[in-house]
């Protein structure tokens, strides 16, 4: 009895931490929405302030509050991350299922597409697509979502190939069930855990790549308060000793990425039926 109690509480701890991570990220998104105007306020009487009580992250050379700017930028990154991760995962799911349902030719074509996207260096393809789509919000979203589906699609396709050989799928076929019945009723429930975990683990990737591509100047336009922009602007001031301009936004970005990673791993463990009684 004590054993079950102990393991049961582990599941509870995981749920509490999970809730905390979700609330924290939700708060960032919500504050960023509220502070959109405030992030643009310039005040030259308070420029280049080091971190203090009124400005915990300091201010920049135009007197903008770095805390407000960072949160707004991160909020933008998270929203782009959510959107692109959902699009990527959707593409991956359809590709994986299509490889199963539509026969050998479709499977071959999808396999080639996956190899193609995975074969080109990630950043290069990302920059190319974003540039071709006219940069800005649309360019970033198109670039990130069109480059991130491949590895999840490969995972799902492998799973589908394995399910195709399983006894219960073959029995369903002998019982006269069609391809679509098998795909949606036998395969989809088995793909769901991988899909959900893959979807959540796509967020940190998408967020980091959005920040990097903006940092390099191929992403969001410079006036938008994105983390990538904040970091690239701060480069010019780092040498003059304004360390807080890069440190805090960088730390908060890393924190957001790690939290998403944690949420993904925890969700993976919670979904697994084997852990239901832990």
């Amino acid at each position: 009895m004590t054993g079950t109690k102990k393991t049961g509480s582990r599941r509870l701890t995981m749920l509490v931490l999970l809730a905390f991570a979700v609330v924290f990220l939700g708060a960032v998104v919500w504050l960023g929405e509220i502070w959109q105007e405030e992030a643009l306020v310039t005040d030259f009487t308070r420029k280049n302030l080091a971190p203090c009580q009124t400005h915990p992250f300091g201010t920049d050379w135009m007197g903008r509050d770095m805390f407000v700017r960072t949160v707004t930028g991160l909020s933008m990154s998270i929203r782009i991350g959510l959107l692109t991760a959902c699009i990527s995962a959707g593409i991956a799911f359809l590709m994986g299922l299509a490889a199963a349902v539509m026969g050998r030719l479709a499977d071959g074509i999808i396999g080639m597409l996956i190899d193609l996207v995975l074969g080109i260096p990630h950043m290069l393809l990302l920059i190319l697509i974003s540039f071709a789509c006219g940069r800005g919000f649309f360019g970033v979203v198109a670039g990130v979502s069109l480059t991130h589906w491949a590895s999840l699609a490969r995972l799902l396709r492998g799973e589908v190939l394995q399910l195709k050989e399983s006894q219960y799928v073959k029995i369903a076929e002998r019982l006269g069930k069609g391809r679509f019945y098998v795909a949606f009723w036998h395969m989809a429930p088995n793909l769901l855990p991988q899909f959900v975990t893959g979807l959540i683990l796509l967020f940190p990737h998408a967020i980091l790549h959005e920040a990097s591509i903006t940092f390099l100047g191929f992403g969001l336009s410079p006036e938008q308060p994105a983390v990538g922009n904040i970091l690239s602007e701060s480069m010019r001031y780092l040498v003059t000793g304004k360390w807080w301009l890069a440190l805090f936004p960088g730390l908060l970005l890393v924190a957001a990425v790690l939290l998403f990673h944690y949420i993904g791993q925890t969700a993976c463990r919670l979904i697994d039926p084997g852990s239901a009684h832990e």
Binding site: I171, R174, L175, G176, W185, P273
Partner: protein
Amino acid sequence: MKLEAREVSFRYGSGGRRVLDRVSLTVESKEHIGLIAPSGFGKTTLLKLLAGYERPDSGEVLLDGRPLAEFEDYCPVQMIWQHPELSVNPRRRLKTVLLEADWEKEAKDRARIEGELGILDEWKERYPAEVSGGELQRFCIARALGRRTKILLADEITTMLDLVTQGEIWSFLRKELKQREIGLVAVSHSPKLLEKVCSRIVRLD
């Protein structure tokens, strides 16, 4: 209906041993055949060929004179596997196994078969990992006994069960198969069981 394997040969992969070498077997509805052979003589493989899960390398499997592959919709030859836990989707509730059986949703026969197999309503809401092997096998048997099933292939379907349950399941199957004139090919390591259940015994070795 008449199910016929004519001179079938089969090997797994391309380089492996030939598991079946020009084997012939005929079974008709009403007929109950028991298949006996030592391990590794291709009993399960023969059933898989007869049910259409595998195609023979040479020879043919005919159902009423037509190749079995032509039956694209419901296959009148249904097989019950030795391992019920591999035969059901682990992520779907057990009621979905019963719904795959070839009956109208509210058919009387569906309810009758479930009742006679001793399937309880509370099991239907559970997942496969939450019932025992014997309980799971009853679901697989019910699924295979659909309306259009004419020949039933049973691959050591009660090996993992205790004697009482074995007796219950086989007495149900005998009655059901006789009543509906369904043919049977049964594989078992127990000659006594086959002698009791079957009208003819075939040795593969």
